[in-house]
């Protein structure tokens, strides 16, 4: 009976993924009949909703990359520092109590983060960077970075904690202090796990929608400038889905093309992390 339920749930999740892929493909094939793949991948303008239509996905990709990069610049160093602290310095009691608190960060609804970026972080940043637009990639990226810190810190900490005690002892016995041991032995030994945590965080950042839709603007721009309004793949999809574009029109089909792009990127990242995890799993047993 339990086996049946498990099989059923496995089937449901595989089925859902296949279904999504099917819809994305079947809806974007008609799109690519009208827009050439070359234009889609090389044109630097994305203006499907204007009269002068361009269908270059690059602006949405640069927008996505800019925000993701900023998020990583925040989340990776902070996440790893927190992980090192928890795994190497904190007492077991402290570790146990702080982990759930960190995970709360990941449980805050993203719409709250979005408004936090727009109403709090942007005004603060504007006092430091005078030319900063009200909507920008910087503040969205920073806040997204804060949101994904627990992903990086929690998985990295698990990886560091799993590094055998014998390696730490070897390092201490050589006269290394805690800091040297953490950075020269524990982090390199946990490297694959840390990379996996970063890749999953990237996937999360790329897929994140609310924060960017609220705080980064709605203007597809082929730029990596973090101070101006941009649009990400996800934010575009939301904009069109919620707008009054006619279903079935070419404009409407653009969201499937953007969706395919998003799917491809996240799928690739997940595959890399899956591969890395498999490859390094048995190393220290």
């Amino acid at each position: 009976m339990i086996e049946l339920i498990l099989k059923f749930s496995a089937f449901v999740s595989i089925g859902t993924t296949m279904g999504i892929l099917y819809v994305l493909l079947s809806e974007s094939i008609p799109f690519f009949r009208e827009v050439s793949l070359i234009d889609f991948l090389t044109d630097t303008q994305w203006t499907p909703l204007f009269t002068n239509k361009h269908f270059g996905i690059l602006p949405l990709i640069t927008g996505t990359l800019t925000v993701t990069l900023i998020a990583l610049l925040v989340a990776v160093p902070l996440g790893i520092i927190i992980a090192v602290f928890l795994s190497e310095y904190a007492s077991p009691k402290f570790r146990r109590s702080i982990k759930p608190i960190l995970e709360i960060l990941a449980a805050i609804p993203t719409v709250v983060y979005g408004f936090f970026a727009l109403m709090t972080v942007t005004p603060i940043l504007q006092t430091i960077i005078p030319g900063l637009s009200g909507f920008n990639a910087l503040s969205a990226g920073i806040v997204m970075g804060i949101m994904i810190i627990p992903m990086v810190s929690s998985l990295s900490e698990d990886a560091m904690y799993a590094v055998p005690k014998s390696l730490r002892e070897a390092s201490y016995a050589m006269g290394a202090n805690k800091f040297q041991t953490a950075f020269k032995v524990v982090i390199p030994a946990a490297f694959s796990g840390i990379i996996v945590s970063i890749i999953l965080a990237i996937a999360r950042a790329i897929g994140e929608t609310m924060i960017v839709a609220i705080a980064a603007g709605q203007q597809p721009r082929f730029t990596m400038d973090p101070t101006v309004p941009i649009q990400t793949l996800t934010a575009y999809i939301v904009q069109v889905s919620l707008g009054d574009i006619q279903h079935g029109s070419l404009e409407y089909k653009t969201i499937y093309a953007a969706g395919i792009m998003l799917f491809a990127i996240t799928f690739l990242l997940n595959s890399i992390s899956f591969y890395l995890r498999k490859k390094y799993q048995e190393k220290y047993i």
Binding site: S166, E169, K184, A189
Partner: protein
């Protein structure tokens, strides 16, 4: 006859008591060790051999339940004095563990580790130290063309010699070995024993072993522990030929059995 020369005492342990919480694991142990000798620590499992060994480089400090009283003087310094910097102390005392534990780094980086953390970056200095340590550990010929290979890619016996090379690279005066051959095959064990014999010309070695033959082969002096007490300590041949205490006799004959 250099061997006969009066050797200096390098480690003095006085009235050592160790508790793990309420458990009394070393009971008023006094043990002096002479420079450039090999001392074997023997005794049944759980009698406190590793605990004693790890007192000397203060590796027990990481165990929260650990409580210590007494004095251990190494090279004239009371190592449990508040003014002692553990990191500095350990640069002078190498340690080899029961299970080979090379870092997941290249052979070269494993051996250079101790020097690098001391801030030494000079390539020639590191190269020379790596080569001479690997030679001392009798591993050089096997790995010299492959220093960039991962330390974990070596066989168990090679890994253990790599760990010995790693410990020697910082030129310690004392080498602590906790059952260094118990995880190795007989041929690798024999290599390490030969090595110990060579190394004692330069280093003071303390080795924990469950192998009585090994103790007789490699050590000058032997200390027999029994449930936290140092029962008997003396020249290895005397201790094995004419043990004074009944427990010693029972243990060594039982183990030779």
């Amino acid at each position: 006859m250099k061997e006969k020369k009066e050797q200096r005492t390098i480690i003095q342990s006085e009235s050592i008591n160790v508790y793990y919480d309420d458990k009394h694991v070393l009971k008023n142990v006094n043990l002096d060790i002479k420079e450039k000798t090999v001392t074997a620590l023997i005794g049944p499992s759980g009698c406190g051999k590793s605990t004693y060994l790890r007192l000397i480089n203060r590796m027990n400090d990481y165990i929260p339940e650990f409580h210590f009283s007494g004095t251990i003087v190494v090279n004239g310094k009371n190592i449990y004095d508040d003014s002692v910097e553990v990191e500095e102390l350990r640069k002078d005392i190498g340690m080899v563990f029961q299970k080979p534990n090379p870092f997941p780094k290249s052979i070269y980086d494993n051996v250079a580790y101790g020097l690098k953390i001391q801030g030494i970056k000079n390539k020639t200095v590191l190269d020379e130290a790596v080569e001479s340590s690997l030679k001392q550990a009798a591993l050089w010929d096997e790995v010299k063309d492959n220093l960039k290979a991962g330390g974990l890619s070596l066989s168990g016996g090679q890994q253990q010699r790599l760990c010995i090379a790693r410990a020697l690279a910082v030129q310690p005066t004392i080498l602590l070995m906790d059952e260094p051959t118990s995880a190795l095959d007989p041929i690798s064990s024999a290599k390490i024993e030969e090595l110990i014999f060579e190394l004692k010309k330069q280093y003071t070695i303390i080795i924990v072993t469950h192998n009585m033959q090994q103790a007789t082969r490699v050590s000058d002096n032997t200390a027999f522990f029994y449930i936290g007490d140092l029962i008997e300590y003396g020249k290895t041949d005397e201790l094995f030929m004419n043990p004074i205490h009944e427990q010693t006799k029972k243990y060594i004959t039982g183990r030779f059995g």
